[in-house]
């Protein structure tokens, strides 16, 4: 696979971020509960694993099998807390890097957020204040992490239920400046984008206009549901047509290197997951 070839042909760290991401195709999040489903679903071009859930020395048989088939496996971290004011945990970065090498992954990813502060772990991907000070902290952390990673880093927009006051930048501007200053890639979650549009009034069109789409690594698609007037990005429900509409808006601007379906709970039947992947393919054309 081209993506795997890109991973094996390691570049110097200082320039690696400038390379375009190879075509990944359409994929699905690998989870232990649906390992056989993921293996058997037709047309799965790549998968993503939650980095914190895997041990480098004891990779699941299913993941190894996928790698043997040549399916790219991308580690996706949730705990680096890159937007936090505290230094990034070096052990977590080392684990992510080791996992990338063990899986021969073309890139790794985490979120534009913070998950801990003052020794407390929130258990959630907390949104950052979109201020220049917060951006400086994020940029410094990202640069430090990139130095210790063997492959490029992609960063994902999160779903938020609140916005910090006194924001100086739109979300698109914030991400664009982050990319410009760190050479990181973008992982655009269209479900998060839809959630923010619905809950916070984020302008999807403006977001897509402002982010550097040429730095797009891949796209996340996921389901959610409305509860008491608030849309929750649950990853445990079917993908809404409205989320696919956001994907279509993105597709109208760029042919994304990859699109990945995330499902983290209440796993449906194999046929339903296959249908969701087919719906994604239909949008991509």
């Amino acid at each position: 696979m081209a993506a795997v070839a890109a991973a094996t042909d390691r570049r110097p760290k200082a320039t690696k971020g400038r390379w375009p991401v190879e075509k990944l195709g359409v994929g699905i999040g690998w989870r232990p509960e649906i390992d056989l489903t993921v293996e058997r679903l037709p047309g799965v071009d790549f998968v993503e694993v939650v980095a914190e859930n895997l041990h480098v020395g004891h990779l699941p048989e299913s993941v190894l099998l996928l790698r043997e088939r040549g399916v790219p496996v991308l580690p996706h971290a949730v705990s680096l807390s890159l937007g936090g004011a505290e230094p990034v945990d070096a052990q977590r970065v080392a684990h992510l890097g080791a996992l990338a090498e063990a899986l021969d992954a073309p890139l790794v990813s985490d979120h534009v957020c913070f998950v801990r502060a003052g020794g407390l772990d929130s258990g959630h991907l907390m949104p950052l204040p979109r201020t220049r000070d917060a951006l400086d902290v994020l940029v410094a952390n990202v640069k430090a992490v990139q130095q210790d990673l063997p492959v490029p880093l992609a960063l994902e927009n999160v779903a938020a239920l609140l916005e910090w006051p006194d924001g100086e930048l739109t979300e698109g501007q914030f991400l664009a400046e982050l990319v410009d200053r760190t050479d990181c890639h973008l992982l655009v979650d269209v479900a998060n984008l839809y959630a923010n549009a619905r809950n916070l009034g984020t302008d999807v069109t403006r977001f897509l206009d402002e982010i550097p789409l040429e730095r797009l690594a891949y796209v996340h698609v996921a389901g959610g549901e409305e509860h008491q007037g608030v849309y929750h990005d649950t990853h445990a429900h079917a993908v809404l047509p409205e989320v696919l509409d956001v994907l279509a808006q993105l597709r109208a601007r760029v042919d994304p290197p990859g699109v990945l379906l995330e499902r983290d709970d209440d796993y449906p039947a194999d046929a339903e997951l296959a249908a969701e992947l087919a719906a994604i393919r239909a949008v991509l054309g």
């Binding site: 232990p32 509960e33 649906i34 390992d35 056989l36 489903t37 796993y267």
Partner: protein, 271 residues
């Protein structure tokens, strides 16, 4: 839905309806075997999936119309295969199923089994005592002779009385044995257990497409629970009345132990 499958070719016991497959599994292999049928029937119905590593998880929504054992399985998920079967085998629902089988006259009541076993032990002890006493006191030969004959005859009768299954229960298992062939996947599980063999070198779990790593959770559970390889089964598959009729070489389902003195209606199978 496969949850209430009944072997149509097996005939029926007079006017009494044939027990459901979980009941038949209980008779053949104890509560652990019934738990295996509950899990596999849910898989067959598309309500749960078993991962490569043996994690059993629900598929989709809650569903309805499940048996009490199936409902218990669904409530406990996600769990490794071995753990969910252990938990289900030792559940109140499994105990209730055992009592139901006693009420239907298919399983020997625990008290009756205990009385029969203890009486048999007493009879043997008395016969041994009589022999020793006759030798020590130089009593007539007839006394120890008849004591031994009485003990042997009584022991055979009491042993039969103390068997886990009643005659009707053993007949249910025999009928199950006749339909426990490959197309009837649930019957295969009910009669042989997941770790049982369909033919030489082919296990039931292989026929079902369950991965070896998942099956390993069953084996770990069996080791942990101390069930012997030949143990398990309050049904006649573990007794002489059925072993000869089984051409499949039935084996323990891994933890469905209700032999070895415990009650069929009791727990069994738990770690």
């Amino acid at each position: 839905m496969a949850t209430q499958w009944t072997p149509t070719s097996a005939g029926s016991a007079g006017s009494t309806p044939e027990p459901g497959l979980e009941e038949q599994a209980f008779l053949a292999g104890g509560p652990g075997r019934a738990a295996e049928v509950a899990v596999v029937s849910l898989v067959e119905a598309g309500a749960v999936r078993i991962s490569r590593e043996g994690l059993v998880s629900r598929v989709g929504g809650p569903g309805h119309g499940w048996s009490p054992l199936q409902a218990h399985v669904l409530r406990r998920l996600p769990l490794p295969l071995g753990d969910v079967i252990s938990a289900t085998a030792s559940s109140a629902e499994a105990q209730s199923l055992g009592r139901h089988l006693v009420d239907r006259g298919l399983v020997t009541p625990t008290l009756r089994r205990q009385v029969a076993r203890r009486t048999r032990h007493l009879l043997i002890a008395a016969a041994v005592g009589a022999v020793i006493a006759s030798i020590a006191l130089e009593l007539p030969f007839e006394l120890p002779f008849f004591s031994v004959v009485l003990a042997v005859v009584g022991s055979v009768v009491l042993k039969r009385m103390g068997r886990p299954l009643t005659g009707a229960g053993r007949r249910v298992v025999k009928r199950l044995a006749k339909v426990a062939v490959s197309p009837n996947r649930l019957a295969l599980v009910a009669y042989n257990g997941l770790l049982g063999r369909v033919v030489r070198n082919v296990h039931v779990w292989q026929v079902l497409g369950i991965e070896p790593a998942a099956v390993a959770t069953l084996r770990r559970r069996r080791r942990n629970s101390g069930d012997g390889a030949g143990g398990g089964g309050c049904g006649s598959c573990s007794s002489s009345s059925c072993s000869s009729s089984s051409s499949s070489g039935s084996s323990d389902s891994g933890g469905s132990s209700c032999s070895g003195g415990s009650s069929c209606g009791g727990g069994g199978g738990g770690d």
